[in-house]
C-alpha cells in the first residue's frame, strides 16, 4: 500500500507539507481554544491542558538557550504558587516539572539506562510522597499504594503476556488461566484449605500448629511460576500446532474452562479442592521471619501484615508499602528476564516465527519447541504475578478470573506497543490504574462537572470498563497498531504487513457498481 491511500494518510501528508511555523501556529491556537473551552468546564482541566501542551513544545525546542529559558520561565509561576500556597499540591507539581525538565538534560546516549533508573527511583520512593501529590484534573488524586501494588502485578502480567503476543506473535486470549493457576497454587500451599494435613515448610509469622499446608511464600512464588509454566507447556503442546486465530480460540477455551473448574471445584468427585465460589481465604502473608528481622534490627519485617514500627522521613511504613517494594523487585526481575530474552537466541527465534513462520522453519528453527518456550516463559511470569497478588489480597476467588481480565491484559500490551517492554509497562500501569481508581475518579469528575440540562448525568463509569477497553483496543488497532511506544520492528511489520496475507490489496478492487 502506498502512503497516500485513505483519507487519513492524505490528511497526514498534507499536514506534513505545511511550513513548520504554520503547523505550530495552528496547533497552539487549537490548544488554547481547547484549554479555554475546558476552563469553563473545570478550571484545573484548562490549566492542565495548557501545561501539558507547554511541556510538550518545550521538549521540541533546541536545548540552548531556548529550552533552558523556556523551562525556567515555565517553572516560575509554579514556584510562585508553591511559595504562596496558591493551591494545594503546588510544591509537588513544581517538583514533578523540575524533575521532568532535569531529565530532558540527560544526554541522549545515557538515556538508555538513566530514564529507567529515574523511573525506578521515583517508583520506590512513591509511598513517601504519595500523600503530598497534587490533584490531577479529570483523574483526581494520585493512586494510593495498594493500587500501586495492583498496578505492578498487572504490569508484570502484561510483560509476561508480551512475551507470548509481542515477541512470538501468538495471540493468547486465555492468559487469565495462568493468573488463576498461580493464584490457586499460592492458595493451596499457604492456607487452611486442606485442614486434615498439617505441614509447614519455612512458613513464617504463622502459628506452627495451624492446620493446613503452609509453605513459605518465597518458595511458593517460584513454585507457582514453575507449575504455571508446566501448565503452559501442557496447554501449548497440543495446540501450538495451530496457527493464528485457531490458537487464540483454544487459549480462550482454556481461559473459560479453568475458572469454571475453580468455581465448581468445591465438589470435585466429592473433594473440596477450590472451595467453590467462596474462594480460598485467608492466604498467608510474606515475611522475612523473626531471625532475619531481629538480625537486621527490624529493618526486614518478620511478617508483612505485622509491619512495621519504622518511621522514615516522617512516613509510617505500613505493610502495603513493603508489599509495594516487593512487587517492584518482582517486576524488575520480570523486566530483566524479558529484556535478556528479547535479544537472546530464543528471542530472535520468536521474532523470526512472528514475522514468517514458514521461513523460520526453513532456517532450522524448531517451531514447536520455540513456541512452547514462549508459552512457558509467558506463563511463568503470569503465575508468579498471580501468586503474589493472591498473597497480597490474602484471598483468591473464581470471580477474579473472567475472560475480560484476559482482554484487559491484552489491552495493556496493545495500548503500550506489542513487543516493546517499556511501552507495555506504561500501558499496563495506566490501564491498571484506570481499572482500580481512575475510572471511578473520572466518573465522579464527570458527574460533578458535566451538566445535561439542569442535572448531572449520574454515570456509573466503572460499569462500562470493558466497553472502554474495547474502544481503546479498536482505536489503537485502527490508528496506531504499533501502540503508544512502538517497537520499531513491530511497527514496520504492522504497516507493511507480513507474509500471511495476499501480496496486494483488494481494497479498491471491483469494477461493478
Amino acid at each position: 500500500m502506498t502512503a497516500d491511500v485513505g483519507l487519513r494518510n492524505q490528511l497526514r501528508t498534507q499536514w506534513r507539507a505545511l511550513p513548520e511555523l504554520q503547523r505550530f501556529g495552528i496547533t497552539a491556537a487549537a490548544e488554547v481554544v481547547l484549554a479555554l473551552l475546558l476552563y469553563f468546564l473545570d478550571h484545573s482541566l484548562g490549566y492542565g491542558v495548557l501545561t501539558v501542551a507547554a511541556v510538550y513544545w518545550i521538549f521540541k525546542l533546541p536545548p540552548l538557550p531556548w529550552r533552558a529559558a523556556a523551562q525556567g520561565a515555565l517553572l516560575v509561576p509554579f514556584l510562585v504558587s508553591a511559595l504562596t500556597h496558591a493551591f494545594t499540591g503546588a510544591r509537588s507539581l513544581l517538583l514533578a516539572l523540575a524533575i521532568g525538565f532535569a531529565a530532558s538534560w540527560i544526554p541522549k546516549r545515557h538515556r538508555g539506562w538513566a530514564m529507567p533508573l529515574l523511573a525506578l527511583v521515583l517508583a520506590v520512593l512513591y509511598p513517601f510522597y504519595q500523600s503530598g501529590m497534587f490533584t490531577m484534573p479529570l483523574f483526581g488524586v494520585f493512586p494510593d499504594v495498594a493500587t500501586g501494588v495492583y498496578m505492578l502485578v498487572f504490569v508484570m502480567m502484561a510483560v509476561g503476556l508480551n512475551i507470548v503476543v509481542g515477541y512470538a506473535g501468538l495471540l493468547d486470549l486465555g492468559y487469565v488461566a495462568f493468573y488463576a493457576t498461580g493464584a490457586y497454587t499460592a492458595a493451596w500451599f499457604a492456607s487452611l484449605q486442606f485442614p486434615h494435613v498439617t505441614w509447614h515448610l519455612g512458613a513464617i509469622g504463622i502459628d506452627p500448629n495451624l492446620p493446613g499446608i503452609h509453605v513459605t511464600i518465597w518458595a511458593l512464588l517460584l513454585l507457582a511460576g514453575v507449575i504455571t509454566a508446566l501448565f503452559g507447556i501442557v496447554i501449548g503442546l497440543p495446540t501450538l500446532r495451530l496457527r493464528g486465530d485457531y490458537l487464540a480460540i483454544v487459549t480462550l477455551g482454556f481461559g473459560e474452562i479453568l475458572p469454571q473448574i475453580a468455581r465448581n471445584g468445591d465438589n470435585l468427585f466429592g473433594q473440596n479442592i477450590t472451595n467453590g465460589p467462596n474462594g480460598i481465604t485467608p492466604i498467608d502473608s510474606i515475611g522475612f521471619g523473626h531471625h532475619l528481622s531481629s538480625w537486621t534490627g527490624g529493618f526486614l519485617p518478620a511478617n508483612y501484615l505485622q509491619c512495621c514500627s519504622a518511621k522514615v522521613f516522617g512516613h509510617q511504613i505500613q505493610g502495603t508499602d513493603v508489599f509495594f517494594w516487593t512487587a517492584i523487585a518482582l517486576l524488575l526481575f520480570t523486566v530483566f528476564c524479558s529484556l535478556r530474552l528479547q535479544y537472546s537466541r530464543l528471542g530472535r527465534a520468536w521474532i523470526a516465527i512472528r514475522e514468517d513462520e514458514t521461513a523460520a522453519a526453513a532456517m532450522g528453527i524448531p517451531l514447536m519447541r520455540t513456541k512452547t518456550w514462549a508459552y512457558a516463559s509467558g506463563a511463568f511470569f503470569g503465575g508468579i504475578a498471580g501468586a503474589y497478588y493472591a498473597t497480597f489480597k490474602s484471598a483468591t476467588f473464581p470471580g477474579d478470573f473472567f475472560f475480560n481480565i484476559s482482554v484487559f491484559i491484552l489491552c495493556m500490551v496493545i495500548l503500550g506497543g506489542m513487543g516493546n517492554i517499556w511501552g507495555v509497562i506504561v500501558g499496563g500501569a495506566f490501564l491498571a490504574y484506570l481499572n482500580q481508581e481512575g475510572l471511578a475518579n473520572t466518573g465522579a469528575w464527570i458527574n460533578s462537572n458535566i451538566h445535561v440540562g439542569s442535572h448531572h448525568p449520574n454515570l456509573d463509569v466503572p460499569l462500562y470498563a470493558s466497553g472502554i477497553y474495547g474502544v481503546i483496543i479498536l482505536i489503537v488497532m485502527l490508528f496506531r497498531p504499533e501502540g503508544l511506544i512502538p517497537s520499531r520492528r513491530r511497527a514496520a511489520e504492522l504497516h507493511e504487513g507480513v507474509h500471511d496475507e495476499p501480496e496486494y490489496s483488494v481494497e479498491h478492487a471491483g469494477a461493478v457498481g
Binding site: T239, D245, R263, V407, G467, G470, V498, E507, G510, V512
Partner: protein
C-alpha cells in the same frame, strides 16, 4: 473413538433408564440447536469469506434479543393473551430485528474490519474482541445490568403428549421459524447471483475482483446476512426463554462458534449439524438425571469439545481441510 463408543453407550443407558424423559430432553436440545444454528451460520458465513472469527457476532445476537423486546413491546404493544394477532406482529418484529442486526453487523465490518483487511490477520481478530466488548456495553447502557423480560407470547400448550413425552408449541415455533430461514439462506447462497458472488469472494478475493465482482459490497452483504440471522436467533431466543441480558451474547456466541467449528467452519450444512449436536449435548448434560455433570459444567464440556476438535480434526465434521489446521 473409544470415548465416542462410551458416550453412545451412556446415552443408550440413559434411554433405557427413562425413555420418556430422554426423548423429551432430546426434543428440547433440538430446539436449542436450532437457535444455535442461526448464530453459528453467521460465524461460518463470515469465516468463510474473510477467515475472521467475528467475536462481536454473539453480541449482535444479544442486541437482536433487545431489539425484539423493544419493537414488540414499544412499537406493537405485544403482550400475553392476544390471540392470533401475534402472528403478524411476531413476523413484523422478526423482519425489523433482522434488518436492525444486519445493518449493525455490516456497520461493524465497515468500521472495525475493513480498514484492517491488508493488516496481519491477528489485527482484525483483536478489533473483533474490542468490538464485542463495545457492543456488550451498548446493550448494558441501553437496557441496564439486569435481565430484560420479553413478553411470553408463544403458547405453552402441547403440540402432542404421548406416553409422558410432550412437546409444547413454544418449542415447536422456534423450529418452525428457523427452518424457512435456513431454506431461504441456502437458496440465497446456492441459487442467486449474489450467492455466487459470495462463494467466489470466499474462494479468492482477487480473482473475484478480476471477474467484476464488487468484493467490498459482497463482504458487506455477507455481514448483513449474518447479522440478520443473528437477529432472527435473538428474536427466537428472547421470545422462547423470555429473558435477555447484556452479557448473554458472548457466552452463547462462543457456544455457537464451537458449533460452527464442530461442523466444519466455512461449511453451511456443517454449522447446522454442529449446532444441533451441541444443542443436544447441552440439553442432555443439563437435563438427564443420571451420571451427568450438570449445568455447572456445560461451558467446560462445550469448550473441551472445541479444543478437541481444533486439535484433532480442525476441519470439523464436514469441512474441508484448511491450511490453518495443517
Amino acid at each position: 473413538m473409544l470415548l465416542l463408543v462410551g458416550l453412545v453407550a451412556l446415552l443408550v443407558k440413559e434411554f433405557a433408564v427413562s425413555p420418556s424423559q430422554f426423548v423429551q430432553i432430546t426434543l428440547i436440545g433440538f430446539t436449542l440447536g436450532c437457535v444455535y444454528a442461526l448464530v453459528a451460520l453467521g460465524y461460518t458465513l463470515v469465516y468463510g469469506i474473510l477467515e475472521l472469527i467475528n467475536f462481536a457476532h454473539g453480541d449482535v445476537f444479544m442486541l437482536g434479543g433487545m431489539f425484539t423486546i423493544t419493537y414488540a413491546t414499544s412499537f406493537f404493544n405485544l403482550h400475553q393473551g392476544q390471540g392470533w394477532v401475534i402472528v403478524p406482529i411476531v413476523f413484523a418484529t422478526l423482519l425489523l430485528s433482522m434488518l436492525s442486526c444486519g445493518l449493525i453487523n455490516a456497520a461493524i465490518e465497515l468500521v472495525a474490519y475493513r480498514p484492517l483487511r491488508s493488516a496481519p490477520r491477528l489485527a482484525p481478530l483483536i478489533t473483533a474482541i474490542g468490538m464485542s466488548f463495545i457492543i456488550e456495553d451498548v446493550g448494558l447502557a441501553w437496557k441496564g445490568p439486569n435481565y430484560v423480560t420479553a413478553p411470553d407470547v408463544f403458547p405453552h400448550s402441547n403440540v402432542f403428549a404421548f406416553r409422558g413425552v410432550s412437546y409444547a408449541w413454544n418449542h415447536l415455533l422456534v423450529v418452525l421459524i428457523t427452518l424457512p430461514v435456513l431454506l431461504a439462506l441456502s437458496y440465497l447462497v446456492q441459487r442467486t447471483r449474489q450467492g455466487k458472488a459470495m462463494r467466489a469472494t470466499a474462494q479468492d478475493k482477487d480473482a473475484a475482483a478480476i471477474m467484476g465482482i464488487n468484493v467490498n459490497r459482497t463482504i458487506s452483504f455477507t455481514f448483513l446476512i449474518a447479522g440478520a440471522l443473528a437477529g432472527a436467533a435473538g428474536l427466537l431466543y428472547s421470545l422462547w426463554t423470555t429473558t435477555v441480558r447484556y452479557d448473554q451474547g458472548f457466552q452463547l456466541g462462543l457456544i455457537a462458534f464451537t458449533a460452527a467449528v464442530f461442523g466444519g467452519i466455512g461449511n453451511l450444512p456443517g454449522a447446522v449439524l454442529g449446532a444441533i449436536l451441541i444443542g443436544l449435548i447441552q440439553a442432555w448434560n443439563e437435563g438427564l438425571p443420571w451420571h451427568m455433570p450438570g449445568s455447572d459444567w456445560t461451558e467446560s464440556i462445550v469448550f473441551s469439545i472445541l479444543i478437541l476438535i481444533l486439535v484433532f480434526r480442525p476441519e470439523g465434521l464436514l469441512g474441508e481441510r484448511t491450511p490453518e489446521g495443517g
